[in-house]
């Protein structure tokens, strides 16, 4: 294509025309902060890990422990907690490993893959947490029905009046709605957050994949 060769000629000439940056300018730049997406992913991820751990911490107050004891599932919850922490530490380890593997010296395709998989770790962590929340809500409801005296008397009243199945359906629907709203809000939030941050990267990643098809 002769136009492209013409451009090549012009391109080479243009090299002389850039405003040259001095050594002093470069020294100045070295101490500036990067605004790369990798840095943002790191910051957001740390906030996310912290957020979920704070949530877990807030819910594990003494009252909650007493309640578990009265339900008789303290041991069970302890085991669940230990497993949970092992999984969280696992997530953080994988995240750190992925993050460290991001290198600007890799090929563009490999670099994008590392970034995407770093982000995916955090995304999986969030889904895992939402799953745990759902599970906790379900267990709480079941426990409430079988252990909470107020609930039991209410239930007995419903049974006496013959509304048992309607009442159970009502409780299940309310809980499901509650879970759906929580998951929906988080899904939307992350869609927006990462959608804005990684829009360009995903577009380029897709383009690169298309070439390889």
């Amino acid at each position: 294509m002769e136009e492209l060769d013409l451009l090549k000629k012009a391109w080479k000439k243009e090299e002389r025309s850039f405003d040259q940056v001095s050594e002093k300018d470069i020294y100045g730049m070295l101490h500036q902060k990067s605004s790369s997406i990798v840095k943002w992913i790191l910051i957001i991820s740390i906030v996310e890990f912290a957020f979920w751990n704070v949530i877990a911490f807030l819910f594990s107050d003494e009252k909650y422990q007493d309640k578990l004891q009265s339900y008789g599932i303290e041991d069970f919850m302890l085991v669940v907690n230990v497993i949970n922490y092992v999984i969280v530490v696992g997530f953080i380890y994988v995240f750190y490993k992925n993050y460290r593997s991001i290198s600007t010296l890799d090929s563009t395709s490999k670099l994008m893959q590392s970034i995407v998989s770093t982000r995916r770790t955090v995304q999986n962590y969030i889904w895992y947490n939402l799953f745990i929340i759902t599970l906790t809500i379900v267990i709480s409801i079941v426990m409430m029905f079988s252990h909470n005296p107020d609930m039991i008397s209410l239930m007995n009243k419903q049974v006496a009046e013959g509304h048992e199945s309607v009442f159970i359906c009502f409780c299940v629907v309310i809980s499901l709605l509650f879970i759906a709203v929580i998951i929906g809000v988080f899904w939307l939030f992350y869609k927006l957050l990462y959608g804005i941050l990684l829009k360009k990267l995903f577009a380029n990643y897709k383009e690169l994949k298309k070439i390889e098809l």
Partner: protein, 164 residues
């Protein structure tokens, strides 16, 4: 030691700064955006510098980091390019023999290249820099055959933009 490292980096970067300027030229429009991307590339090069062992030339090494920064790490959008920014294409011709038709053609070519996406620009950039398909394929992480096919498609695309 770290001061030596910094000094050596700054010196080499200064000598090779046109690589970065050229990438900024293709991926940004306007002086501010140019400076912004230049700075981000400098930071990324500096971060990667401890891993530069002098096995390859500084320039070869810098190409990859700089392109990766422009395509992957840099967040600001490069899509909205105002037509007025193309005026900058004029300045280098003036010192040479004035060839109005050629100048016009180059200007149109630049405009066409600006319409390409980031990956296509990277291929054009390396083509303009006389890189062979082996290096293009290694830099982008695609096969040589596919790099060649893509380059041909880009040429067709550019032709179509120039002669709609």
């Amino acid at each position: 030691m770290s001061q030596d490292l910094e000094q050596s980096f700054v010196k080499q970067l200064k000598e090779n700064q046109n690589i970065i300027h050229k990438i900024c030229r293709l991926y940004t429009s306007g002086e501010d955006a140019h400076k912004d991307l230049f700075q981000e590339i400098t930071i990324q090069l500096w971060k990667a510098f401890p891993k530069f062992r002098g096995e390859s030339k500084f320039s070869t090494w810098a190409y990859r980091v700089a392109l990766n920064t422009a395509i992957t790490l840099y967040r600001k959008s490069t899509r909205s390019i105002a037509t007025s920014s193309f005026d900058t294409t004029n300045h280098f011709i003036k010192q040479e023999e004035y060839n109005y038709e050629e100048e016009e053609q180059i200007k149109l070519m630049y405009q066409a290249v600006y319409q390409l996406n980031d990956i296509e620009k990277a291929l054009v950039f390396m083509y303009l820099e006389d890189k062979d398909y082996e290096e293009i394929s290694e830099t982008l992480g695609i096969s040589q055959v596919n790099a060649r096919v893509k380059m041909n498609r880009i040429k067709t695309k550019l032709k179509k933009i120039l002669n709609p």
